[in-house]
Structure formats: C-alpha cells, structure tokens
C-alpha cells in the first residue's frame, strides 16, 4: 500500500467515523426518511350505479376509489374480482413524524428503503465529486453504475413510450390494448403504413446477420435522405429568412412618445406619435454592421486580406464579444446547479441545516463535522 492510497483510506475512515457519529449521536440523527403508507382500494361498479350522468345505457364496469364511495358502502357485498387493492405511500418530513408520535398515532412511519435511497444518493454524489480531486475507484463505481442504469433506463423508456404505442398499437391494436394500453382501446386502429418502420427495423437488425449486414444501409440511407431534405428546407425557411427579417431595422429609429403618466401620446388620427431616437439609431447601426461583418468573416471565397480582412477582423471582434457575454451570462445558472446539490447533502442527508423548517423540532446537531463529512 503506497503512501497515497494510505492517505485516502485514512480520509475515508475518518469520514465514515464522523458520519456514523453524527448518525448515532446527533439528537435527531440524519438522513432518515418517513412515509405514510396508503392503501388504495378500487371497486368495479356497473356504470349506471356509479355515474348517473353517464348517458350510455349498457352496463360497463367503472372503477371507483373506495374513498369516493359513501361510508356505509358494503365492500364485502361486491364480488372478489371487482375489488382490487394495492399499497402506495406519501413521503413525509421528520417534523410530521414527530408530530404524529406526539399525537400517539402511527400515521407516519420510518421507511428503510427511502432512507437507504437517500444515503445511496448522497454517497454517489460524493463519489462523483471526488473525481475533481483525482480519478479514483469510487468514481469508477459511480460511473460504471451510471452507464448501466442510464442505458437501460432509456431503453425502457424507448420501449414503453415509443415501440408499444407507436408500433405495436398501430400494427396489432387488439392484443396491445388488451395487454398494456387499455386507455386507448376504443380509438386504437390498425394502420398499415406502420409496416414501413417495421420493415426498416428488420432491415436494420440485419446487421447482426453475418452475410446481410449491408441491408442495414437501406433504412439509414432512407432516414438520412429524408432528414437532409427536411432540414434543408426548414433551416432555409426558419432560421435563414427569420434572421434576415429581424435584422432589417431602420437606422433612423423612432419610438413612441409617452406622456408623464406613462400613457402613449396620440396624434389627431389616433396613431401614436413617433419621434427620432439617437441611441436607438446607433444601436440599430451597430447591429446591422455587426451582422454584415460576421457574414464577411464566414466568407470562404476570399483570403482574409485587405478590406475583406479588415471587415472579417471586425467580424471576429463581434463574435468574441458575443461569446464573452454569453459565457458570463450562463455562469449564474451553473452555480445554482451546484448549490442545489450541496443543499441536498446538507439538508436532506446530513440534516445540518433546515432552512424550510422540515425538522423544526428543536435540534442540537454536531455542527463541527460538516466540512469534514463532505470530504
């Protein structure tokens, strides 16, 4: 074990000891989660009983939450098939837990799974931040896990949000709605055209076949072609024309005149009185010169020499000002992101601070540990 590794191990051990100390000896502890378990029960009723307003006469099962039925409703009288229950929960704050305890109720209970969750989230946050010091095994753990989980997450999203509703439900509406999408069972219809993406998908998967891999180029070529055509036209229509249109401004700028009370001054015809504004004109002039100079910079046909070179140089200056301003403008938002992470660590996990009073039952924490626990 070399010196550096030793140092790391010591730092980690100290950190863990401090955490354990805080978790055990601080009055309220830290990083605990509380929930209120909720049982949901739904009862299947014939439509005409449940909703008088429903015009359809045929008996259709409508599921109603037991909370919405009258108190004297006899659940036992309903066939077992028509009563479905499951458990869910609401998250609660520590203050609510203490309040419930003081009131002698069991409404709010400690949740092990959510507590573990907060701890894991906090540790992963620290693992990632540790990369800023040096690449290390903890970061590698977080990174490997992130890759696996996120790749699977987006596949699951792609399956349930794209393939099922946009492919399965179009080509096999019956089975799909009977299986996973009852919400659209009345309107789902077979759409033959979706055979095209199906065929393309099969061609794409031909990559996996050793001899027919070249077939996968067909769908790729089709989509690259369509998007090229589509983007060609939409960029020329959208960005290109819009930017030119917005830059056609008057170098002799006028603004409406306002009276002392802030209302617009009108002439006899009822139109607002416009007057020349020097600064407005200068602004417009700079804007137009800037756009033209930057365009010259982008010119490919001429070397940047002579007049062209001078103008192109002006263009670069404009671009540099643009970039400097945009960089600084974005900084504030980036800092907020870090602040939110640190608030999570201090507030949700370490219970060091309690700005919003979520644990507003007098607490004496071990304040000194804070910076060290972060290491």
């Amino acid at each position: 074990m070399n010196r550096e590794t030793l140092l790391w191990v010591i730092v980690l051990l100290i950190g863990a000891a401090l955490l354990a100390g805080r978790a055990m000896f601080a009055e309220n502890g830290m990083g605990k989660a509380y929930i209120t378990p909720v049982e949901k029960t739904y009862v299947g009723l014939d439509a005409d009983v449940a909703e008088a307003a429903e015009a359809e006469a045929e008996t259709k099962t409508v599921w109603v939450s037991i909370d919405e039925l009258p108190e004297d409703f006899d659940v036992d009288a309903v066939a077992d098939d028509d009563v479905v229950s499951w458990d869910t929960y609401e998250t609660k704050d520590y203050a609510a837990y203490i309040a419930a305890q003081n009131a002698g109720t069991n409404d709010v209970v400690f949740s092990l799974s959510h507590t573990i969750g907060i701890w894991i989230a906090a540790l992963l946050t620290l693992f990632v931040l540790s990369f800023l010091i040096k690449d290390n095994p903890l970061y590698k753990v977080a990174e490997s896990m992130f890759i696996g989980i996120s790749a699977a997450y987006w596949m699951v999203v792609g399956f349930w949000d794209t393939i099922v509703p946009n492919l399965f439900a179009k080509l096999a509406p019956g089975p799909t709605t009977a299986w996973a999408l009852p919400g659209i069972r009345d309107e789902a219809q077979f759409e033959l055209i979706y055979i095209v993406p199906l065929i393309f998908s099969i061609l794409l998967l031909m990559r996996l076949a050793p001899k027919a891999g070249w077939l996968s180029r067909w769908p790729m070529a089709f989509f690259i072609g369509t998007f090229c055509g589509f983007r060609l036209i939409s960029f020329l229509h959208g960005d290109f024309l819009a930017q030119i249109r917005n830059t056609i401004v008057s170098l002799y700028a006028k603004t409406p005149q306002f009276a002392a009370d802030g209302t617009a001054m009108l002439n006899e015809a009822g139109a607002p009185i416009m007057d020349f504004t020097f600064w407005g004109s200068v602004q417009n002039l700079i804007l137009v010169i800037g756009v033209l100079a930057c365009l010259v910079y982008f010119f490919f046909s001429f070397e940047h020499k002579g007049v062209v070179g001078g103008t192109a140089r002006l263009g670069i200056w404009f671009l540099m000002v643009t970039f400097g301003a945009a960089f600084a403008y974005t900084v504030m938002g980036r800092i907020a992101l870090l602040a939110i992470r640190i608030e999570f660590l201090f507030d949700d996990w370490l219970w060091l601070i309690d700005p919003t009073g979520r644990r507003a039952v007098e607490a004496v924490g071990m304040i000194v540990l804070a910076p060290l626990g972060m290491a």
Binding site: F146, N166, F230, I233, L236, D239
Partner: protein, 235 residues
C-alpha cells in the same frame, strides 16, 4: 448494388421531402417520418445495448484491468432493464385495475425501477451537471487572459457581464446617474446592451451561416457528392 440503392434511396426520399414542403396536402410528411425514425432509434437499442453487453462481458471474461467495474455496469444494466420491461412491482392503473400491473405506469412510485431512478440515476445526473460550476471557474482562471486583442474583448465582455449581474457591479457604477446622459455606462445597463446588440448581432450571423451550412451539407448528400456515411463499396 450495395451502394447504389442506398444512394438512390437517400436522394429520392430527400427530394420528395423538399417538394412535399410546398403543398398543404403533404406538408406534414416530415413529422410522420420523425415518428418512424423514433421507432427505428428505439429498435436500434438492441444494437447499442448488445454492443454494450458484448464489450463489458469480454472485459470480464478476459479479466482486463478494471473488469470489476464492467461487472457493475452489466449487472446494473440487466437489473434496470428487467425491472423496467417487466414493470416489476408496478401498481395497477386506477382506471383499469383489472388489467393488473401491465397497464400501470412503468415508473410508478412504488416500483424498484422508480427507486433506482430516483436514488441513483437522478443524483448522478444532477451531480455530473453540477460539476460544470467547477469547470466554469477553472476556465475563467485559465482561458480569459488578454493574450491578444480578440482575447481581450472576450475577457472584457465576460468581466462586464459577470459584474453587471452582481450587486457589487451595480454598486461600482452607482455614481453614474440612472437618468443622465451617461446612464448607458452603468454596469447593469452595459450588460443589457452587450446582450441586446452585440450578442444578437453575433448570434444572427452565426445562425444564418448555420442555415446555409446545413442546407449545403444536405444538398451534397442528396446529390451524392458526399457519400462517406454510406460506407465502403464492396463488402
């Protein structure tokens, strides 16, 4: 054959899209094809995911350095995939409880899939994003140096805008009357002018250039001038 058909397919499809844009009857074809593309992209997960598994499993079987991390990736990938695709532990849809868990939401808040999302995916995502705060700081220290006139402009504008967005900057130029002729020199006003005039001008030119560049690249592909995306001729 292996190159000609794809090239033709791309050209024909592309030019049809251009023509379609000009008729009210066919205008929406672009959106339709976008739906198809999303399907293809979702199906392509099989290729990407398969490749991911292959690479990491090979690292494990070869006992490459760091193979333990590949085990973590593979396990977390497979667990998350199974939980999500199976809708494991998902509560039924309140409107259709008789359909069982299959009609529920895959990210239902009681499911383990949600738990993993909430307590691993989200904090990791947010923390990587938050690392930007550190990198803007180191970039500010390192890159904003007045090496030449261009760099000076970059630096000076960044400086003015940064100051103009804090109370300190406002305080620095507070002596300039807000309604006097030199009001524009107040830092918060300067920030506004920099953003409204220079930033707008620069961005407009960039956008015009981008539109022309996009159109030109697209056209080259449709004309078959640029065919590097299609791969080699004779495999």
């Amino acid at each position: 054959m292996k190159r000609t058909i794809p090239l033709l397919l791309a050209s024909i499809a592309g030019f049809i899209m251009i023509v379609a844009y000009f008729s009210p009857h066919t205008e929406s074809w672009g959106e339709e094809v976008a739906v198809w593309f999303n399907i293809l992209a979702a199906v392509a997960f099989i290729l990407g995911g398969g490749n991911l598994l292959k690479i990491h499993l090979r690292k494990v079987s070869d006992r490459n350095s760091g193979w333990m991390y590949s085990v973590i990736t593979v396990v977390s990938f497979l667990v998350m995939l199974f939980l999500g695709l199976w809708k494991f532990g998902v509560n039924p849809n309140p409107q259709f409880p008789d359909y069982g868990h299959w009609a529920g939401e895959y990210n239902d808040s009681t499911s383990p899939f949600y738990w993993l999302y909430e307590y691993t995916f989200k904090p990791l995502q947010a923390t990587i994003f938050a690392m930007l705060a550190f990198y803007v700081a180191s970039a500010a220290f390192r890159a904003f140096r007045a090496k030449n006139f261009e760099a000076l402009l970059l630096l000076a504008t960044a400086f003015v805008v940064l100051l103009g967005r804090t109370a300190a900057g406002v305080f620095l130029t507070d002596f300039i009357p807000a309604d006097g002729p030199f009001a524009a020199l107040r830092l918060e006003e300067m920030t506004q002018y920099l953003m409204n005039i220079f930033n707008t001008a620069g961005n407009r030119a960039i956008m015009i250039g981008i539109a022309l560049g996009t159109a030109s690249v697209s056209l080259k592909i449709l004309l078959g001038v640029d065919r590097s995306y299609i791969g080699s001729g004779d495999d």
